[in-house]
């Protein structure tokens, strides 16, 4: 029976005080799914294609309590692979950072991921 893999990851991202942080979520391995981004409890954006989302100015993010939460539902629809991967790319800080959650499921499985980005 298809199962749902649940996984979370927490990372710190070093901001640049005078630049805006941009996040991009990609559901890879040609699997289907959708992602959403929340800053704290505030909904920022959601979609199925990779898209750049401006999260906010670096200083405000670092001094605020809210974390960026990128969540995704990934469905194993490919007969060629059972990898279920979410990658979040962060830019606008001190460095570009790629954060990834990946699992090897079984045909038909789903994954529910959340990546929490703390701005420091």
């Amino acid at each position: 029976l298809p199962k749902t893999i649940t996984e979370t990851k927490v990372v710190n991202y070093r901001v640049d005080d005078v630049a805006s942080v941009v996040a991009r979520a990609i559901i890879g391995d040609a699997q289907e799914g959708a992602w959403t981004m929340h800053l704290g409890s505030r909904f920022l954006a959601g979609g199925t294609n990779a898209d750049d989302v401006t999260v906010g100015p670096g200083r405000a993010l670092a001094e605020g309590s809210g974390n960026l939460e990128v969540s995704a539902i990934v469905k194993d629809v490919r007969p060629e692979t059972d990898h279920l991967t979410l990658t979040v790319t962060l830019t606008g800080g001190m460095d570009t950072q790629h954060v990834q959650i990946t699992n090897l499921g079984n045909p038909g499985d789903s994954a529910s991921y959340s990546i929490f980005v703390r701005f420091v």
Partner: protein, 461 residues
């Protein structure tokens, strides 16, 4: 795609000309067996030998070996491929295992985190992405007599390796989130529902509970933003001459100099991330468990999409190749080549019509000499809701090691027409000519009634 007939089958096989080709064997058969035998003669979607089918095989190695493994190992990680291939190593030497069947796609054994479904679905030139390798073995026992008083059984193993790929795949695949109404919004809704979405206050409370106080105190005391002026310092020292009370007053004074934002910024790196992750995962797992009805709805939409997305349209150019050898006593150093084949098909699928052009070369070694056949085939299918028709022809040229006086050209021709009598019940009529010596190969005719649960045998792949 192969359309299987299910349900009650009432068939009438009329062998008008019988099996007149060389090598034909007379057998006593039941009506059902005759029906099945007639089907085997059909070119369209029938159970004829894989090697004879007018298509590029999915697993060329197994076709060349003439085996249909019941279980094919399909490793999907580099480690799993290595484990599968490790069966070729025995006690530090190479050996050939029997009953081995593995198939893998090199491109897909590695993760492709940047490959999005729309880029994949768009198709195009896909030589590497669609490349698959198949590797199989079959044990062959033969009686060895040379130099022996009594013949003994020699365990030989045949091994074949093959590849298959799409040089060009213009048949775009369905993206379910585009195709199924409500699926995209359902997935986004599910991602939102299963987000932890802590408010700023909840985050602050949770993270503050995961900071060690002495670390925070040290960070505040080291912060340049909290630095005290000489006057403020003197005032504290005057009010608290003792060490512990003075330190506490100093910390309070320095903390008070920080804005809430500066204090938050000092706290953030001190949070125990592992403990935070454990707590957030616990909350997320609860949200996922609570969202099972939403998950089920999404699963149902994906299932409906899969059922509706089998037909693809556009150009497809496939190529495949395989080679086989025989290994005496399963030893790598005692080998001889047996056969090799190559296939290339170019097809175009439209709404209800498919046309396919095939080129195939097969060479095999028998009694020490190589034989070679070149096939060229053409197939057209028209399928509608209530009727379907298929026409297929293959020309075969015996190009290498032809017998003296043998005609170099043979052909197979098959026509199948079907009509749906009632929902699920199909009448089909087939006739044609199978391969045979010269132009007098076996003629066949077959009438079938697939009653009740039948599906059309002629369907657009």
């Amino acid at each position: 795609m192969k359309a299987r007939t299910s349900g009650a089958v009432l068939g009438l096989a009329l062998s008008l000309a019988g099996a007149r080709g060389a090598g034909a064997q007379e057998t006593t058969t039941s009506l059902v067996e005759k029906v099945n035998a007639g089907r085997e003669a059909l070119a369209a979607d029938s159970d004829i030998a894989e090697q004879e089918k007018l298509r590029t095989p999915n697993s060329p190695a197994f076709v060349l070996l003439g085996v249909s493994p019941t279980q094919i190992e399909r490793p999907n990680t580099p480690k799993a491929v290595a484990v599968a291939l490790s069966t070729f190593v025995s006690k530090d030497s190479l050996t050939v295992p029997d009953k081995f069947a593995v198939e893998f796609a090199p491109y897909w054994i590695f993760r492709r985190p940047k490959l999005q479904v729309r880029d994949y679905a768009a198709g195009g030139w896909s030589l590497v992405r669609d490349l698959t390798f198949s590797l199989g073995t079959a044990a062959m026992n033969r009686m060895q007599t040379a130099g022996m008083v009594e013949p003994i059984q020699a365990p030989d193993t045949d091994l074949a390796a093959g590849f298959r790929t799409h040089l060009y795949d213009g048949q775009s695949r369905a993206v379910c989130t585009d195709k199924m109404a409500g699926l995209r919004d359902g997935l986004i809704g599910l991602a939102r529902t299963t987000s932890v979405r802590l408010s700023d206050a909840e985050t602050a409370e949770l993270e503050d509970s995961l900071i060690r106080k002495r670390d925070l105190d040290a960070a505040i005391l080291a912060s340049p933003e909290s630095a005290l002026t000489p006057e403020e310092l003197a005032r504290i020292e005057a009010a608290h001459p003792e060490g512990a009370a003075r330190d506490r007053a100093m910390l309070e004074a320095r903390t008070a100099k920080l804005t809430p934002g500066q204090l938050r910024r000092l706290k953030k790196p001190l949070v125990d991330l592992d403990a935070l992750e454990v707590e957030l995962k616990r909350r997320k797992e609860q949200l996922v468990a609570d969202a099972r009805d939403q998950l089920r709805t999404v699963e149902t939409l994906f299932e409906q999409c899969a059922e509706a997305s089998t037909a693809r349209k556009g150009w497809l150019w496939e190529v495949a190749g395989a080679a086989a050898g025989r290994f005496t006593n399963a030893r790598f150093d005692a080998r001889e080549w047996l056969a090799w084949s190559s296939w290339s098909t170019l097809s175009y699928a439209a709404e209800g019509e498919t046309f396919l052009l095939l080129g195939r070369y097969h060479s095999s070694k028998a009694s020490g000499s190589w034989d070679g056949f070149l096939d060229a085939g053409l197939r057209g299918i028209v399928a509608r809701k209530t009727y379907a028709a298929s026409l297929e022809g293959i020309g075969r040229f015996h190009v290498v090691d032809k017998d003296a006086g043998e005609k170099p050209f043979h052909y197979r021709l098959a026509v199948v027409a079907e009509y749906m009598v009632t929902e699920g019940s199909w009448v089909s009529v087939s006739f044609g000519k199978d391969f045979g010596p010269g132009n007098t190969g076996a003629l066949f005719t077959l009438a079938n009634l697939n009653w009740g649960f039948g599906k059309p045998r002629v369907s657009v792949p």
